[in-house]
């Protein structure tokens, strides 16, 4: 039962109850039950102690008694209580110390307590790393004190154990503790998968080993243990590995019934403990009691390590279908890798009530639910266990026989004949109860009802007919009953105790094989996960663009074929760059989404324009780039792009071209580089052996062509040329293959404009831009500015002006006027320096005005 719900209800907003455990608070004289809740508030933790009703369901069932903050100085230490009766038991007793005192609390054995202590240890402030938690298998409970002695700080202060037994059982906790730390919900679903896979493969890493179980049941009729129980529990047998001992009618008093509190628990617990087989040491795993039903579980101390996941629950089926005078108590645990559930039930009484008993059985089966370590899993029911051992006063009677007949058959030891009248057998034959369970042959006389203290049948007024009330059944594979008997020598009650010995084959884990299976599962999960990482196939990932030319688009395509996982792809920026590729490249589309098994074509467009041409000419930059194609939550692919660029007069500086007497593509890469990087010469000083040309020959060819062919051309510089013709013109200029330019006047005119546009340094050098705008309108000043240009620029300027004036002379034919030409050329010849804001209308007007002055003057002709 999860009592944290009740506690959570008492908390304020922002406070969370992480885990609750029920413990016994050791006072001076008395022992009292408390609920201990670990509560988190805004990153801080505290233990809340509550007094409570037996089963706390709502906030009304609990009452906050005390809060122990988990701060510096808080410590939880394991101690061994002085009280003798706990020597054998394996409940954990801890001492909780804080600034305001100490508490000693006894916590039940089991996984829940382990979790609880573990959660606390996580909340200790400034908890040390896992290294320390594991190093010493024992420091499950970490003492966190401010001691300066570092040894002291992290080691568990465990008081000396009185016996080896309790020591053993404690370490068992720690071992399973480790297993549990592996399976805490940190990995959530993944863990659940691993676990279920491990269960599936169980056969591969477990082998069966025989263990002997003693199962006993005794209805003690409210009596105290006046005699030794040895004849029942240990006479004439080998020491069993496991003891499951159940009682009914432990206490018939009203106190027990209403408050579930009885001194008999201690008495009988001690009596059993004292009567266990003397040739072995046993550890108590668990005691569970509901009113008069009590179940005790012991294991041989050597096996303590192999017991885990112990849980106990109760179900009342008594008055109102809930009270605990009838019903069952049960303990479930894992022994090695086999899950075992022991049920002790006391079903409805009276001869005629067999259907009621059947119903009790069903109610117990459906209502008995054990919580699991993994909160993702539903609670466990009895039937989910590998081994179920069911004992108790099932109260089924012998029917259709009168008392005398029964006694007569008993006298003759005609148990088979008698058994035919057994209600339980008949009900089981009809599948009305205990389906799937087995019971051994009964070769002992009925265990009910005797006069207390002797072996004689009931002589009371009621004179009950004898019956086999006390029974032991089992369900599961690999269970072999060795004996099934009663113990007539024990005369404390009106029932006789019954016992059965079983050999049960338990699945024992081979650590090495387990490890292997575990690793395989983890690996296959990793594999699955890796298969769900997006991944694509690229049709091509190296792209080589050959003979790239100025302003000639080249496109290469490739396909991205998606594999199994839907994915988002994108070309991402490289380190310290704010673009995903070089300026001359574009990937289209740059990003996209692909469904499984679909594909998309990507175009890589390479286009060299004026802003990249110069550096490619000079070789300062190469056509080389690597693109990163990134898949969201997946891999990155590198695409490599290379190419060779054919240098061009387009994008070359005026001065460079003036030094080139040959077409640029006949020049060596080194001389192009050298000439391109040559600083702009301001005067006519000759740095080089060769005198430069007055103006670039390419410019001359373009202008000369237009001068000779286009002076009468209408719409010159206003109608676009043809792309293909531009390419021919460009090739002609760059290779010098032809003496005359091919193509229409418009294409040549456009090539001229493109040429001027592509100049890295405009004809009117940038640094004179502002001066020109200032003196636009003042021809003298303007001429002075022009005279300050480097020689080759000045030449080009004057040459162009002369040419344009020449065109204007034919304006009747070509309809050009100074206004049009000045505005077209103004924007090309005068360009602002880099980082200058884009020219606005006023600036453009001034540039036009500046040029226009020169078009209207006849002087200065070249």
């Amino acid at each position: 039962m999860d009592q944290s719900v009740a506690i959570q209800e008492t908390l304020a907003d922002g406070e969370t109850c992480l885990i609750v455990v029920q413990g016994i608070l050791a006072g001076e004289e008395s022992v009292e039950s408390r609920l201990l809740g670990l509560v988190r508030t805004h990153g801080e933790h505290a233990l809340f102690l509550y007094t409570h009703r037996r089963m706390a369901i709502t906030a009304e069932d609990v009452c906050l008694e005390r809060i122990v903050p988990i701060t510096e100085g808080f410590a939880v230490e394991e101690v061994t209580p002085d009280n003798d009766r706990y020597i054998i038991g394996s409940d954990v007793t801890v001492q909780i110390s804080s600034e305001d005192g100490q508490l000693v609390v006894q916590l039940p054995f089991g996984s829940h307590t382990r979790m609880f202590l573990q959660e606390i240890s996580k909340c200790l402030p400034g908890i040390v790393g896992s290294e320390d938690i594991k190093q010493n298998g024992k420091n499950l409970v970490v003492n966190h004190s401010q001691s300066t002695n570092s040894d002291d700080k992290v080691t568990l202060r465990q008081s000396k154990s009185k016996t080896d037994v309790s020591e053993m059982v404690r370490s068992s906790m720690i071992v399973s503790d480790k297993a549990c730390s592996l399976s805490l919900q940190k990995f959530g679903l993944r863990d659940t998968i691993v676990k279920s896979q491990l269960v599936k493969r169980e056969d591969s890493y477990t082998s069966l080993q025989n263990f002997r179980f003693f199962v006993g049941t005794y209805n003690v009729n409210g009596q105290s243990p006046k005699e030794s129980l040895r004849p029942w529990l240990s006479h004439g047998i080998e020491p069993p590995d496991v003891y499951c001992v159940g009682f009914q009618e432990l206490d018939l008093s009203k106190e027990a019934f209403f408050f579930n509190d009885t001194p008999k628990e201690e008495e009988w617990f001690k009596a059993v403990t004292d009567s266990l087989h003397p040739d072995a040491r046993y550890a108590k795993v668990k005691l569970i009691r509901l009113v008069g039903m009590m179940l005790l579980l012991y294991v041989k101390a050597d096996h303590a390590l192999n017991i885990s996941e112990v849980e106990a629950e109760t179900v009342g089926t008594g008055i109102m279908g809930r009270m605990g005078n009838k019903g069952a108590v049960a303990i479930r645990f894992k022994f090695h890798n086999t899950s075992v559930c022991i049920v002790n039930s006391h079903l409805a009484a009276h001869m005629e009530e067999y259907e009621r008993r059947n119903q009790d059985f069903k109610d117990i089966c459906s209502r008995m639910q054990f919580c699991q370590l993994d909160p993702n899993l539903p609670p466990l029911t009895i039937s989910k266990h590998d081994v179920v051992l069911w004992l108790g006063d099932l109260n089924y009677r012998l029917e259709e026989l009168d008392v005398e007949k029964v006694k007569m058959l008993i006298e003759k030891k005609a148990f088979r004949a008698l058994y035919k009248h057994d209600q339980l057998k008949r009900q089981m034959d009809e599948k009305a109860v205990f389906e799937g369970f087995s019971e051994g042959e009964i070769t002992f006389q009925p265990t009910y009802k005797y006069d207390t203290g002797c072996d004689g049948w009931d002589t009371s007024e009621k004179c009950r007919a004898p019956a086999w009330c006390d029974r032991i059944l089992w369900k599961g594979k690999n269970i072999f009953q060795l004996s099934y008997r009663s113990h007539m020598a024990v005369k404390i009650s009106d029932h006789k105790p019954v016992s059965s010995m079983f050999d049960i084959k338990v699945k024992v884990v081979n650590e090495e094989l387990y490890r292997k299976a575990f690793e395989e599962i983890v690996r296959s999960l990793d594999k699955m996960e890796n298969a769900s990482i997006p991944s694509v196939i690229l049709s091509q990932r190296e792209f080589s663009f050959r003979d790239v030319k100025y302003m000639q688009l080249q496109v290469k395509t490739f396909t991205i074929r998606n594999e199994q996982v839907p994915c988002q792809f994108e070309f991402i920026n490289k380190l310290d760059e704010d673009t995903y590729c070089k300026e001359w490249l574009i990937a289209n589309p740059r990003k996209g989404f692909l469904l499984p098994d679909s594909e998309m074509t990507i175009e890589l467009e390479l286009f060299v324009n004026k802003s990249t041409a110069t550096r490619l000419n000079s070789g300062e930059e190469k056509l080389e780039d690597i693109l990163i194609l990134h898949l969201n939550e997946g891999k990155d692919y590198f695409l490599s792009v290379t190419g060779n660029y054919l240098p061009s007069c387009f994008g070359s500086p005026i001065q460079t071209l003036c030094y080139m007497r040959e077409p640029i593509q006949d020049m060596s890469a080194e001389s192009i580089r050298e000439l391109t990087l040559l600083p702009l010469q301001m005067s006519d000083d000759i740095f080089r052996d060769e005198k430069p040309l007055d103006i670039p020959k390419e410019l001359w060819m373009l202008v000369d062509h237009l001068y000779r062919n286009a002076s009468h051309q209408e719409d010159l510089f206003q109608q676009p040329g043809l792309r293909s013709e531009f390419q021919q013109i460009r090739d002609c200029l760059d290779t010098g293959m032809l003496d005359t330019l091919l193509g229409s006047n418009h294409s040549v005119a456009e090539a001229l404009l493109l040429f001027l546009e592509s100049l890295p340094e405009p004809v009117i050098c940038c640094h004179l831009y502002n001066d020109c705008l200032h003196c636009a309108g003042n021809y003298t000043l303007s001429s002075q500015v022009v005279s300050r240009l480097p020689t080759c620029h000045k030449n080009v300027f004057n040459y162009l002006m002369a040419f344009l004036r020449e065109l204007l002379k034919n304006s009747e034919k070509n309809h050009l006027d100074a206004n049009i030409l000045a505005s077209i050329f103004g924007g090309l010849l005068l360009r602002p320096p880099p980082r200058h804001p884009k020219p606005d209308v006023t600036e453009k007007r001034k540039a036009q005005q500046f040029i226009q002055q020169f078009l209207l003057r006849e002087s200065n002709s070249p």
């Binding site: 908890i127 592996l182 380190l575 990163i628 194609l629 692919y637 590198f638």
Partner: protein
């Protein structure tokens, strides 16, 4: 598809257990070819642990470790954990780099050293476990208790020194441990 992953950064998850703590590792396998080096560097920034891998049958790949190591120094975060790996330990007959040379270099850099074989699976698990341990140790103070330990994901970048041969030049089976 070709048996060789295309150059880039391959990305895989692996779960291993170190001292009973489950650790999820993100493995980035970066392309080793020289021309990608400027780009692969950017992946070092997010690494917590790095394998520097050379090929024991290639003296050249061993010489190249120096370059990798200095790149890592420059680009990887402080406190990144490194392990030197001499791979292809199964190719004893082609060995060009002695075990001692590996040890020596590792010592100079203060790294652990393993000779591994992706083909025969020698020391693969061990080296992963070791690097994870080192990373866990290095991050102990930052991580808060056992819970964070197991939940924390590690990023191990794997840098493989490559041989300079075009891909597909070798026919030996591809690594099979992941």
């Amino acid at each position: 598809p070709s048996p060789f992953p295309p150059p880039g950064v391959d990305f895989k998850m692996k779960t291993i257990e170190v001292d009973g703590i489950k650790v999820r590792i993100q493995i980035w396998d970066t392309a080793g070819q020289e021309r990608y080096q400027t780009i692969t560097k950017q992946y070092y920034r997010r690494a917590q642990g790095i394998f520097l891998v050379y090929d024991i049958s290639s003296e050249r790949s061993y010489q190249h470790i120096m370059k990798w190591a200095s790149d890592v120094d420059e680009y990887a975060p402080d406190g990144v954990q490194k392990i030197l790996i001499g791979n292809k330990a199964d190719e004893e007959q082609k060995r060009q780099v002695g075990r001692e040379q590996g040890l020596q270099l590792a010592k100079e850099y203060g790294m652990d050293f393993y000779e591994t074989s992706a083909c025969t699976n020698v020391n693969i698990k061990e080296s992963f476990t070791r690097l994870t341990e080192l990373v866990l140790q290095a991050h102990r103070k930052e991580l808060d208790g056992l819970r964070a330990y197991a939940a924390g994901e590690l990023n191990l970048a794997e840098l493989e020194e490559e041989e300079g041969k075009p891909e597909g030049a070798e026919n030996s089976p591809k690594a099979c441990w992941c």
